[in-house]
């Protein structure tokens, strides 16, 4: 386990993450004024997922943690993805 190898992130990397999150939030708002049709939702979801990934990897230290935790989080995300895919069997074919 990770008791003996605590990773301490630098202020610089935290600030970089903060800047990325703010920038992506601005992009989220800006993209609503671009007419992408049905893909507006897709774009918003991609940006939100990127932000979530940054938070998970850097703020929540997943990038520096044991493989088992990365595996477990990935598994949970996969289940979530499967749930979304199955839901879309309804929305795409209704």
């Amino acid at each position: 386990m990770s008791e003996n190898k605590t990773h301490i992130s630098s202020y610089g990397s935290h600030l970089l993450v903060l800047a990325s999150l703010i920038a992506l939030t601005i992009v989220t708002v800006a993209i609503t004024s671009v007419q992408l049709g049905a893909f507006n939702t897709t774009a918003a979801m991609i940006i939100a997922s990127t932000k979530a990934a940054i938070v998970l990897l850097y703020f929540m230290h997943l990038k520096f943690d044991d493989k088992i935790f990365r595996f477990m989080v990935t598994l949970v995300l996969l289940i979530y993805a499967v749930v979304i895919i199955i839901t879309f069997f309804d929305y795409l074919y209704r």
């Binding site: 499967v82 749930v83 069997f89 929305y91 795409l92």
Partner: protein, 537 residues
């Protein structure tokens, strides 16, 4: 296993005098066993309240026409009955009470990983319950939506939906924190030598349950918040007039609420496995198959929610996909039943009350499971959807399955938890009466459903009168059986210490310590040297 047999007795967790005395000693205790009993007593209280509501509902349905109450009162009654039984009794169910009490004992730990969080979870549970109760007596009265809060009706009714939804939301937090606590406990606090495949199967069941609690509950939490936002701010997530989609509500609700059925039934199956193994005097048949089937049920259970929605208007493709996936759940469920049967085969069966409860569970669970196939198949579901058939099916699964297993577990672990023994003869008589009452109450509902009687109506056509009358009689028999069982448990017999330490010759770790256990369970942490059910002298 070694190092765990007491040579002298320690003060039990019931006698232990800590920093706080009396009531405060319970309400502020972080001991997992006391918290388990807090859950058990509060759940039993809510269960009995739900039973009384159910008996009144059946009384209203004893004959066609209005008997006791108006339609709106009946609507409120079945809603509150559902809310109480689902959210306050059976979802916390065996997990919160028996899970809390026995996970540390069965894995050789002194407590759960986060004792304070454990107590906080109970306070959230009580807090959520209080909010639901508040919703019944304030505003425009109790909700009339059914426990499912289906949109768009839940957005439009004038009854007090917001408080009930908020209560369920708070209860969800309790469930998530309990699940998290148990996962960490099982991963990090097992005794030396207890690998994952040396854990008792109740622990495997609790492990699967905890993952569902942790991952599925937030979905319903968010959904309920969306209902509150829709009602208060008029956002329109589920309102077609504003571009929303009511079917989305059903998707989100059942993404949680179907796995929630496995939150109820998985710990029940775990307890039944323990009981069947102990009273068969055999090593459990197919240990790994049962362990993996718990995880398989937990996983596949996530993917089948759409079978609640076959008539909702969702796409044909989705209906077929969900129907197929639903049938997959039958496989791990059947693995458990076959393995229980194989464990009993050629065993030296000891016909004690917990074993009879387990047999009653298996009988009604099989009926519930097989009628579930009728509902899992699109072609047959559309005929019986929203009829009394569904009511019968889920009572066979939820009450007959999880409920009877709750009592089976109570009779099995009773001497360990309280250091006393009930009257076994009376326990058997109570079970027999309850079992007859149960089937008299719910089996006619299958027939009513096939005849076409819809659920959730306070009145019905004359052709439905006879099965409804029989069903109401069944509710009284069940009530009498339940009363006998509970009074018997409240009036234990005096027996010798040897008879309560391990009366059933259980082989798992909790039976190696004194009854009731001491505050820290084990004088020294045991070292596990063999499987949980191995017959070792």
């Amino acid at each position: 296993m070694s190092g765990n047999t007491s040579t002298h007795r320690m003060p039990s967790y019931l006698e232990y005098k800590g920093r706080y005395r009396g009531l405060a000693g319970w309400l502020l205790s972080t001991d997992h066993k006391r918290i388990a009993l807090l859950y058990l007593y509060s759940q039993t209280f809510f269960f009995l309240a739900g039973v009384v509501m159910g008996i009144f509902m059946k009384l209203e349905l004893i004959a066609p026409g209005q008997q006791l109450m108006q339609a709106s009162t009946y609507n409120a009654l079945f809603t509150v009955h559902g809310l109480t039984m689902i959210f306050l009794f059976i979802i916390p169910g065996l997990a919160a009470s028996f899970g809390n009490f026995f996970i540390p004992l069965m894995i050789g730990a002194k407590d759960v990983a986060f004792p304070k969080l454990n107590l906080f979870s109970w306070y959230l549970f009580i807090g959520g319950a209080c909010i639901i109760l508040l919703g019944m007596f304030t505003g425009d009265g109790p909700p009339d939506t059914g426990w499912t809060f289906y949109a768009p009706y839940s957005l439009r009714t004038n009854t007090n939906v917001v408080l009930s939804v908020l209560g369920a939301f708070v209860l969800g937090f309790s469930s998530v924190l309990t699940g998290l606590n148990f996962i960490v406990t099982i991963h990090r606090m097992r005794a030396p030598g207890m690998g994952f495949f040396r854990m008792p199967l109740f622990i495997w069941a609790m492990y699967g349950t905890s993952w569902i609690q942790l991952l599925a509950t937030p979905v319903v939490g968010i959904t309920l918040v969306m209902v509150i936002f829709d009602r208060i701010m008029g956002i329109g997530f589920f309102d077609p007039a504003k571009g929303g989609d009511p079917i989305l509500y059903q998707h989100l609700f059942w993404i949680y609420s179907h796995p929630a059925v496995y939150i109820m039934i998985l710990p029940a199956m775990g307890a039944i496995t323990e009981i069947v193994t102990t009273f068969s005097r055999r090593v459990v048949f197919g240990y790994k198959a049962i362990a993996m089937s718990s995880l398989a049920i937990a996983f596949v259970g996530y993917l089948v929610w759409g079978h609640h929605m076959f008539t909702s208007g969702m796409s044909e493709t989705a209906r077929l996909v969900f129907s197929l996936l639903t049938f997959l759940v039958a496989i791990p469920s059947a693995i458990k039943v076959f393995n229980w049967s194989a464990t009993m085969y050629k065993g030296s069966l000891d016909l004690q009350p917990p074993f009879w409860w387990a047999m009653a569970f298996m009988f009604v669970f099989m009926i519930g499971g097989l009628t579930g196939l009728v509902l899992g198949s699109v072609a047959t579901d559309v005929h019986v959807h929203d009829t009394m058939f569904v009511v019968a099916h889920f009572h066979y699964i939820v009450f007959g399955g999880a409920g009877l297993a709750f009592f089976a577990a109570l009779h099995y672990w009773y001497p360990k938890m309280w250091g006393k023994m009930y009257n076994k003869r009376v326990a058997n008589i109570g079970l027999l009466i309850l079992f007859i009452g149960f089937n008299t109450l719910y089996f006619p509902m299958f027939i009513l459903g096939i005849m076409g009687m819809p659920r959730r109506y306070y009145d019905y056509l004359p052709q439905f009168a006879t099965p409804n009358f029989i069903s109401t009689i069944g509710s009284w028999i069940l009530g009498v059986g339940l009363l006998i069982v509970i009074v018997n448990l409240l009036r234990p017999k005096k027996v010798s210490q040897e008879e309560i330490d391990n009366p059933w010759q259980g082989r798992t770790l909790e039976w190696k310590v004194q009854s009731p256990p001491s505050l820290e369970n084990f004088e020294e942490i045991p070292v596990v040297e063999h499987g949980p059910y191995d017959l070792v002298k």
